[in-house]
């Protein structure tokens, strides 16, 4: 039972990250009816930007020393007094890294927002009202462009990036077993779920959210009602690229950075299809289901099964409900 809880928690933590990635795909789909096949590559860009601003720049000779490692007197003094392997030590290490973490996140958010904006303005906007199919094909083309660009820009080997939060281990007893978690994973999960909740609340309860829902349902009627549909488009892309930046930073700290991060987007696309392309709630359920299923197969059957079993579940759901768990029927048209 304790093992079960351990793996369930691992699964939920992974599910939260999936959900954060999925939110970008759903938002773009809702606003523009475009299925963004290149979303994984936006996340890869986010990860590389985080690497750039939190590792490359602080390591430059011209960068101030405190940016790479902040060592104020009180921190040095505290550290000296600590016993070995104390959890407090992890927190203090994190504080030393804080300047470059903040720079990394801010830089990744802004840079990725700009990338999202450019994609929308240059590639999507001109096709507005012509053909959604063409726009989807453009996102497929983007995959090659983005992975090519990334390998041109970031030639250096991606070294370790700093964790977003202290990586102190968290241990507690449940059902007679010790549950072991990393503090940083917990914080990542909370961060991902908070962002997800904030976006859903925005769409459900604010006037800006009404503009998005109206555009989702009937673009031209929303437009003729004073809602600036182009603005809704570009906001959706910026939302996708900024949530993607955070997700990219988190993934970079968990699994390191490599061009294969882009492929991760396809697994999440499958999750999104399972939940229903235009349903935040459905996608959250799907993300959690796949996360937990993955952890459970990992536990019972081992790592190689973990990559297959959850996606077999996705296929079964899609055969049973072609528009996903909670998707609108119209989705079928695409």
């Amino acid at each position: 039972m304790g093992q079960f809880v351990q793996f369930a928690i691992n699964g939920v933590m992974a599910g939260a990250i999936y959900a954060l990635i999925a939110v970008g795909i759903v938002s773009v789909y809702k606003a523009t009816k475009v299925v963004n096949f290149a979303h994984g590559y936006l996340i890869m860009f986010g990860a590389y930007f985080y690497f750039t601003f939190s590792v490359i720049i602080p390591n430059q000779p011209w960068a101030p020393e405190w940016l790479l490692s902040w060592q104020p007197d009180w921190l040095v003094a505290q550290k000296a007094d600590l016993p070995m392997f104390s959890p407090m030590g992890a927190v203090l290490d994190w504080v030393s890294n804080l300047p470059r973490i903040v720079l990394g996140l801010t830089g990744a958010l802004i840079a990725n927002a700009i990338v999202g904006r450019i994609i929308e303005r240059v590639l999507m906007r001109p096709l507005m009202g012509q053909s959604v199919f063409a726009m989807i094909m453009v996102t497929v083309g983007l995959i090659s462009i983005m992975s090519g660009t990334a390998s041109l820009i970031w030639t250096a080997d991606a070294a370790n990036v700093p964790f977003l939060s202290p990586s102190a281990p968290v241990k507690f007893e449940a059902f007679g077993t010790t549950i072991f978690l990393l503090g940083t994973d917990l914080v990542n999960m909370v961060l991902a779920l908070l962002m997800f909740a904030a976006i859903v609340a925005f769409v459900k309860f604010t006037k800006g959210g009404i503009a998005i829902r109206a555009t989702a349902e009937d673009q031209s009627t929303a437009y003729s009602m004073g809602i600036s549909v182009p603005k809704v488009f570009s906001r959706a892309w910026v939302l996708a690229s900024t949530t993607g930046a955070i997700a990219g930073a988190i993934l970079a700290t968990r699994n390191g950075i490599s061009p294969s991060l882009g492929l991760f987007g396809f697994s999440v696309l499958a999750i999104v299809l399972m939940g229903g392309l235009d349903s935040y709630v459905g996608v959250l359920i799907a993300a959690m289901t796949v996360g937990v299923l993955e952890a459970m197969t990992q536990w019972k059957l081992g790592g190689s099964w973990a990559e297959i079993v959850p996606y077999v579940a996705v296929l079964i759901v899609l055969i049973w409900r072609p528009h996903g768990l909670m998707g609108q029927k119209e989705v079928e048209r695409i």
């Binding site: 507005m128 009202g129 006037k207 009627t221 437009y223 009602m225």
Partner: protein
Amino acid sequence: MLTIENIEVTYHHTVQALRGLSLEVPDGKIVTLLGTNGAGKTTTLKAASNLLALENGEIGEGRIAFKGQSIMTVQPDKLVQQGLFHVREGRRIFSEMTVEDNLVAASYALDERKAKADYEKIYDFFPRLKERRKQIAGYLSGGEQQMLAFGRAMIARPELILMDEPSLGLAPKVVEEIFDTIRRLNAEDGVSILLVEQNAGVAFSVADYGYIMESGQIVMEGDVDTLRNDKDIQSFYLGVGEGDERQSFRDVKHYKRRKRWLS
């Protein structure tokens, strides 16, 4: 208020829908535009509200002016800020949103003006909408949906409303109610209206002036009283007299002309 001069419209660069159409809506008047299916009525309205680009349609030649200014390059969301509101064919309410949210969506039309949305006014006009304001709009009856479509237009405080077949699929009693509202809005707030209809009877009951269109062109126009008494219109649009099948209004004329020639 609105002047359309000689416009030509093509869809997908191939299908020509309008061929040199002209019409005018004077300040404070109700003008009706009649025509059979596919004549190009909806296209005319979409040209005026600049929605054609979204459907791969294009205005080739001609001019459209609203309040004396050309509006052919003004985006739809800006047009509605200037006071032109298009109530689209088939009502086009946001069916997954509540009645209230539908009205809030329309309040975007006021964003660049000082005005605030007056929801109470709409609920006074249509008490039934008030009762159902928290309901999902897709579950409203057809008549209630038309009221909501109308309510959205009123929220935007337009100077000109383009109305596309408000009577479509509604019971006579509901049609009566909707047309009373049109009359009231015109009389009380001085809103000009361009009314597209298939039901010539009700259209004539509110309009001041009428245009008849066929295959993308105006084929006849005049005061409503003149039109109402026109023999051809009576037989083709008002169902008076011989009721045999004819494909179009042109055929009526043609047929009459031939008859005259024969006799």
